[in-house]
């Protein structure tokens, strides 16, 4: 399967890429690692007239811990996210996701910016960034702007990114002392999309009770979802026993759960509850060790 014909232009800088986007408008799509866009083009589900290759803008490939935050450039590959010591320390759930996403070849090419901009409901980072919190920075012709992560995804394959804009960076609050995060994915086969993905970020007080809890899921609906009822069930309580069971029981409350022949909604809900309980336990263990 060969993609439909297109014009190919290469941008050496963010400004050059913005200029190409301004020139070609809706005809243009950005190409980073290409591991979402090229398969879509080969299946003729996408047929952009112009591809703007931003894959060589090396200054967008970085992982930096700065001022209590972890900043990751849009062109950082999943492999680099998986390997970065700063990610393991400051946002462990991101490293968890990067290590189970696709396969080694895909992780060598795919980028965090591409995955966040593509906003596939089954993408692993979708849940992780919602649970970690933070912001996405985008550049347009009018300058830069920052979007809170809760406002990023607007629907299936749809984000707050406007036409003519480029995603530059994801920024997460770095884990503090007694904070831990985890991502767990349940998939049928190696390198498959998940049937359920759960990300949990917990902060514990000196008494072992939750001082903060964020829980989010991917692969369960038409976009990643925050599980605020489950978060509320943990508030001020030690993450064990009844508190965990109660949180897990309401983790998909209010969510229209995806239903398909391979994973009916009731089974997916069961999986989400089991994986949520396990993820809370793992995040709590990491928080105690941090």
């Amino acid at each position: 399967m060969i993609p439909p014909a297109f014009e190919y232009v290469r941008a050496a800088s963010v400004d050059e890429a913005l200029a190409h986007l301004a020139k070609y408008g809706d005809d243009a799509r950005l190409l980073a690692g290409g591991h979402s866009l090229l398969p879509l083009m080969r299946l003729r589900l996408a047929a952009p007239r112009v591809l703007v290759d931003i894959g060589r803008i090396r200054e967008l490939a970085y992982v930096r811990a700065e001022g209590g935050e972890l900043a990751i450039g849009a062109l950082t590959t999943h492999h680099a996210v998986e390997q970065a010591a700063a990610v393991a320390t400051a946002a462990r759930a991101l490293a968890d996701a990067a290590s189970v996403l696709g396969d080694p070849q895909v992780r060598n090419r795919g980028t965090i910016g591409g995955e966040l901009a593509h906003a596939d409901p089954a993408a692993d980072y979708g849940a992780v960034v919602l649970a970690l919190g933070g912001t996405v920075t985008a550049a347009g012709r009018g300058g830069r702007r920052t979007v809170a992560i809760d406002d990023w995804v607007r629907g299936p394959f749809t984000t707050a990114l406007q036409p003519g804009e480029i995603l530059l960076e994801y920024r997460a609050p770095a884990a503090a002392a007694r904070e831990g995060s985890v991502y767990r994915k349940f998939a049928r086969r190696a390198s498959d999309y998940g049937m359920v993905g759960v990300a949990v970020r917990l902060g514990l007080g000196a008494d072992g009770r939750c001082t903060s809890a964020r829980i989010a899921l991917s692969c369960v609906s038409d976009q990643p979802v925050r599980a605020q009822a489950a978060e509320a069930a943990l508030a001020g309580r030690a993450p064990e026993g009844d508190a965990v069971r109660e949180a897990a029981a309401v983790v998909l409350q209010g969510v229209r759960v995806a239903d398909d022949p391979f994973c009916p909604a009731d089974y997916r809900t069961h999986l989400a509850q089991v994986e949520t309980a396990r993820a809370i336990a793992e995040a709590a263990a990491r928080a105690r060790a941090a």
């Binding site: 014909a5 190409l31 090229l38 080969r42 591809l51 492999h79 696709g102 070849q105 895909v106 090419r109």
Partner: protein
């Protein structure tokens, strides 16, 4: 458009359509048919080559993206004659039946052993997660990689 790609140490230069995939550049432009097209949807890994040292699925990379880069294919593993340790491992441990997945397995395993020269069986299986074998030869493939690691691939 014109691309220049170093393949197995030799600089190649061709005028191509921008939509040319790297795997077609290798097979159709250069005649290097050792790299196979299997699933054609970036699942099976039969088309795996190294691009600037990293294993990639060449069915999901444009030749334009590889412009200026260096590609290593299965043909380069034993270019000078004797089989590479990985190839010997596959031979001795019966790591293939039909052989269709083998070039991709060899290139993925090449990256695996560069990143981790002494992998456990679990690490080998994880490192080859992106490569499918429909003869279900996985157990022998893992043995083959382990054998190659011992020989110092």
């Amino acid at each position: 458009m014109k691309v220049r790609i170093t393949v197995n140490g030799t600089l190649t230069e061709r005028e191509i359509e921008p939509r040319t995939l790297l795997v077609h550049y290798l097979r159709d432009e250069l005649g290097l048919t050792g790299t196979h097209v299997g699933c054609d949807t970036s699942n099976c890994g039969a088309c795996t080559v190294l691009l600037d040292g990293d294993a990639v699925k060449s069915c999901t990379v444009l030749a334009a993206q590889a412009d200026g880069g260096a590609v290593a294919t299965v043909e380069g593993l034993a270019a000078s004659g004797p089989l590479a340790a990985l190839q010997e491992g596959f031979w001795e441990a019966h790591g293939l039946q039909c052989g269709f997945c083998t070039p991709g397995m060899l290139m993925a395993a090449t990256q695996l052993l560069r990143r981790n020269p002494d992998p456990t069986d679990a690490e080998i299986r994880r490192g080859l997660e992106g490569n499918l074998c429909r003869c279900t030869g996985y157990a022998n493939i893992v043995r083959a990689v382990r054998l190659a690691a011992r020989k110092g691939a």
